[in-house]
Amino acid sequence: MVVQYFVPHEQSEHAKEFLLDWIIVIGIFALALGIWSLISVSMDKINKRRTNWEYSAVTLIGLVTMTFFGFTAHGDGSWWTYFIALIVLLAALWFYVQGLLSSGGKPMTNILIGAGLSAVFALITIFDNSWTFHFYTPEGLSNMMFINFFNYIMVPLQATMFALLAFFIASASYRAFRARNVLASLLLIAALIVMLRFTPGPWGDLLAKTSTWVMNVPNLAAQRAIIIGIGLGIVATALKVILGIERGYMGKG
């Protein structure tokens, strides 16, 4: 791939595309592993009744529910069977995973109950025409419930988590900006100048000018030094990987 950079020919671009595609395809299998990891860690917590196991159950319900919404489309008619089907599905999966994971106990019983519940789920799916599964067309993405969950759960939660930063930035500056030594004082003064840049008062204009200068001159210089350093660090790391000097990622420390 190093060679690829110097070879502009289209064959070389094709090679690059293939490699990127491969990584995506591998990612598909990795995602399966990831989801399995989430499920098994959560189930483990639930089975062993570790502290806060209840919340792991909530996570799993959320996961299955959202996935169910994503693969189904609801047409006209009653929503009741749709939600009953979802609950039956949750229960079936619950018993299956219990059966697969439980170290002691009676795995077979759990799996049998799971099978029974799946049969009920299958019957509902077959006889209820108000909703259908769609694995080959992304109709689930426009499922009303899928969109509602996205709009009223994911979006506000994302925005709120992000907005927590307003508080964290406040507490971090309270705690850390202490004039302990030269370095800490420089950090503090630079931050104060920039933060005060739009305060009203005779010094406002001066501070605004100073903060612009700080952003354009010392800031630019230090960033450039960091960037050059990072560039070399990346090349060195990549080179070590290619030459086989660094095998840490394979666990060969």
């Binding site: 791939m1 190093v2 110097f6 293939f18 490699l19 595609d21 990584i23 591998i26 598909i28 995602l31 592993l33 989430l38 919340y55 909530v58 996570t59 799993l60 959320g62 996961l63 299955v64 529910t65 996935t67 994503g70 693969f71 689930g140 993405l141 509602n148 969950f149 759960i153 994911m154 979006v155 939660l157 925005a159 709120t160 988590m161 927590l164 930035i169 370095l183 420089l186 104060l192 920039v194 933060m195 200068w213 700080v214 010392p218 800031n219 210089a221 450039r224 030094a225 960091i226 350093g229 990072i230 070399l232 990346i234 090349v235 990549a238 080179l239 990987v241 290619i242 990622y249 394979m250």
Partner: protein, 213 residues
């Protein structure tokens, strides 16, 4: 439905904020919902974007199948061998492939954009002049400061030389530059982070509680 949704959203929002006081059951529940729903969301989106569109349509049902994709699929299957302890070592192959390909792909790109281009922009006229040829003292000072900052900053990053004497002083000046940068960027970010909170406040006050100013 919309009213219901806004109530849910508002309660979840408050659930997250309760974390600021301390970890509590409401936050734990909110977090659990968030993790579950988002993992499900990404799984579905990933399925349709990649498994379906890229792999299924590109390599299986396509008239002009992209057989290369199967290579990726084989590597992906090898990846799954990790589920079986005895042959789990095979899963290192795709892993080595990913890491190796990445390393190769980005090595030169970073060398160019980070190291070479940045060096090129450091090579500049020190004395700034306006169109009339008069020397602009402030700008000249600025370029000098930039030059000093870049040089001392780089000196700071030397690993194999002890920070002593002239070299040590330069490295120290370098850290000053770094600290000024960090302080200034931190201060600069406060405003945008506050805007995020103002946005959430808007949502709670107007959309949910309808307390309009």
């Amino acid at each position: 439905m919309e009213l219901f949704g806004i109530w849910i959203a508002a309660l979840l929002t408050l659930g997250i904020y309760s974390f600021l006081y301390k970890d509590n059951p409401v936050y734990k529940a909110t977090e659990a919902i968030f993790v579950g729903v988002s993992a499900g969301y990404w799984a579905v989106v990933y399925y349709f974007d990649n498994i379906y569109k890229k792999f299924w349509e590109g390599a299986v049902t396509s008239d002009n199948p992209d057989y290369w994709m199967y290579g990726g699929a084989v590597l992906g299957l090898l990846f799954l061998t990790r589920l079986f302890p005895k042959i789990g070592w095979i899963s290192r192959w795709p892993l080595a492939f990913i890491v190796g390909a990445t390393a190769g792909l980005y090595m030169v790109i970073y060398f160019v954009t980070n190291a070479m281009n940045q060096t090129a922009s450091t090579i500049m006229d020190i004395v700034a002049r306006n169109a009339a040829g008069e020397i602009l003292w402030m700008d000249t000072l600025g370029t000098l400061v930039i030059l000093v900052g870049v040089v001392t900053g780089l000196v700071y990053f030397f690993f194999s030389k002890e920070h002593k004497g002239v070299f040590g002083t330069a490295a120290k000046v370098g850290t000053w530059f770094l600290m000024i940068t960090f302080g200034a960027s931190f201060g600069y970010t406060v405003m945008s982070r506050m805007s995020l909170f103002i946005g959430r406040m808007d949502f709670l006050m107007s959309d949910w509680l309808h307390i309009i100013k």
